[in-house]
């Protein structure tokens, strides 16, 4: 799989990362290198190997369904850029 400059810009946009044209050229080289490595790994025969979802052979611990948290919104909102009536304020987003 080969990557084009437009792909890099699209990936950056999806991740909301601003990249200049020059930076994009650099990332294209780096990402293409990673893709080449992946391609090399594809040569390994993985028949019968179950795909891994996590690097460790452990399973998810469950917690009991109980309310353990208290209302700390005043503390959290002390560091928020802007709040009002307990709400976080953000630049207008509208459909």
């Amino acid at each position: 799989m080969t990557l084009a400059l437009d792909d890099v810009k699209r990936i950056a946009h999806l991740a909301r990362i601003e990249v200049s044209d020059q930076e994009a050229e650099g990332y294209l080289k780096q990402l293409s290198g990673i893709f080449a490595l992946v391609e090399e790994m594809q040569a390994v025969d993985t028949t019968g190997v179950e795909p891994m979802a996590h690097a460790q052979e452990v399973t998810q611990r469950l917690r009991d369904d109980a309310v353990t948290e208290t209302d700390l919104h005043a503390a959290f909102q002390a560091v928020a850029p802007q709040t009002e009536d307990g709400l976080y304020l953000v630049p207008k987003v509208i459909e």
Binding site: Q56, Q60, L62, T68, L72, F76, L87, Y88
Partner: protein, 509 residues
């Protein structure tokens, strides 16, 4: 050209846990903004999600209730997109390996003018997976800014995905209603659509009748009432057919239904965002459900709708039609079951007639539905078309199951006739008290005293010699006239069986 409609639904059911899916913050509705959004929910750096056992149990219960395959191992994944009410920049969901796979739900379509006879249909359910809800954006009144309330962020959801098995808006509504009934039935979701606890997205496409390949589909988002679901699908089907017949092409897109204008509109902003770049969440390990967990979940399952339906047919000797009608919704099924409990199995058929007859007719006339609130053990009246009323503001149902049971007992034991019972029912609905009190106060007891009925019959025969002669000359039809007159004279209280017998005897001469 004949068109066939193809519909699949994605339903979000909010699981009624005490705490959130990945944190110990409360999920109670109606708290002050952000009072229930803890460090995990607002995605402060360094926090880790820990999965709620209750949410897993409820998902497993649902899987068991639809006869699904429970995946012994399921994986949580990150669904990446940016929106201010999604603090992490991704939603934790399940993608490749959901907890529930391949189940089914049988739906009942009532007889109607458009589809004719009623029928049953089984809708396949592709999967159901666990995920977290996002917060809420408030767009009004913040001097040009948007307010964000993250109380809902992290609330556990079960997203239930059907196969594209529905062929009309009516089928989609029947499926949504059956699903809504089921999640409330097994106690995993309160089903409160006004508060957003149960909402549907509909995937709609059309194809020429007989064609196998599906047409291009559109997804209508966030339908939070059965009425809107039906109207949105009907509008969308018309739109797509007109578009194609005019030589156009349906474009795959997300649309929103606008109830005020009764139309669906393209939601363009979602288009380019539709690349979610799912990957397994490294913060969460694979979820393993073992045999012991499954057994424990199985033990907490109540009698399911199809099981209750079978019991009604077998033990109460109801017809399949009555049994399926009565178990179509959780509230009516429990209502009937409790009414029967209070009056005994042998009068079940009579009780079924009353619940599906007079009781349902009254609800239909008033445009109301009954709602059983299990936590307070209360029966409420709800207006399905209304979007606003909160549960604690709803009026109570005037006739409880045991009160209806007492009325039915009085018909069965001959105290009142079926016709008089309708009057008593109306009085009970108006809040005038129990059946016995009303019967007593209004003097509605059936007259089963042979002497009293004979006296009435004698008077009528004496007053109508012409009709008596007609009857005796072979005109059997006049018999009805005498029954009517006698009932009128007794104000409807004469025991019908006794009256018939006495009339026959006297008329025979």
């Amino acid at each position: 050209m004949q068109w066939e409609v193809v519909i699949g639904l994605e339903t979000h059911a909010q699981l009624n846990t005490n705490s959130k899916i990945f944190s110990g913050a409360s999920t109670a509705f109606g708290a002050a903004p952000n009072a229930q959004a803890c460090a995990v929910d607002i995605a402060l750096p360094g926090v880790l999600p820990v999965l709620n056992r209750g949410a897993v149990e409820k998902a497993v219960k649902f899987g068991l209730a639809i006869g699904a395959k429970i995946n012994r191992k399921s994986i949580f994944a990150r669904k990446n997109y940016f929106y201010p009410d999604l603090p992490k920049g991704y939603q934790i969901s399940q993608f490749e390996l959901p907890i529930v796979a391949e189940g089914e739900l049988t739906i009942q379509l009532p007889p109607s003018t458009s589809s004719g006879q009623g029928y049953e249909k089984t809708v396949r359910i592709t999967r159901a997976h666990l995920e977290e809800d996002a917060g809420k954006s408030l767009h009004e009144d913040f001097h040009g800014m948007t307010g964000i309330d993250l109380n809902r962020a992290g609330t556990p959801l079960l997203e239930i995905v059907s196969e594209p098995d529905m062929r009309s808006a009516a089928e989609a509504v029947a499926y949504a209603k059956a699903l809504h009934s089921l999640v409330r039935w097994i106690g995993i979701c309160d089903g409160n659509m006004q508060e957003g606890s149960f909402r549907c997205d509909a995937n709609v496409s059309v194809r020429p009748k007989g064609q196998e390949a599906y047409g291009t589909r559109c997804e209508i988002k966030n339908l939070n009432s059965f009425k809107f679901l039906e109207k949105a699908i009907e509008f969308e089907v018309r739109r797509q057919i007109e578009l194609i017949e005019d030589g156009g092409r349906v474009v795959q897109e997300t649309r929103l239904y606008d109830p005020d204008r009764d139309e669906t509109r393209s939601m363009r902003s979602k288009e380019e965002a539709n690349d979610y770049r799912y990957f397994p969440d490294p913060d969460l390990l694979p979820l393993v459900v073992d045999e012991a967990f499954l057994d424990a979940a199985r033990k907490t399952l109540v009698e399911l709708p199809r099981e209750m339906c079978e019991r009604f047919e077998k033990e109460l000797e109801l017809s399949h039609y009555d049994a399926t009608t009565l178990t179509a919704t959780f509230d009516r099924a429990i209502y009937f079951d409790r009414a029967v409990m209070s009056l005994g199995n042998k009068n079940a058929k009579l009780c079924a007639n009353w619940v599906t007859g007079e009781f349902s007719a009254r609800l239909n006339r008033e445009g109301k539905e009954i709602l059983f609130e299990a936590t307070r053990d209360k029966w409420l009246l709800v207006d399905p078309a209304s979007q606003s009323s909160k549960q604690e503001d709803l009026p109570e149902l005037p006739i409880s199951p045991s009160q209806l049971g007492k009325l039915v007992v009085r018909i069965a034991d001959g105290t009142i006739t079926n016709n008089i019972a309708k009057k008593v029912f109306d009085a009970m609905w108006a809040g005038e008290g129990d059946a016995d009190a009303i019967i007593e106060a209004k003097g509605l007891k059936q007259v089963s005293d042979v002497g009293a009925i004979e006296k009435i019959v004698d008077e009528i025969l004496a007053a109508n010699p012409g009709q008596v002669a007609e009857y005796r000359s072979g005109k059997d039809k006049v018999f009805g006239f005498f029954v009517g007159q006698a009932m009128k004279a007794s104000k409807g209280k004469a025991n019908p069986a006794q009256l018939n017998e006495i009339l026959k005897k006297k008329l025979a001469g």
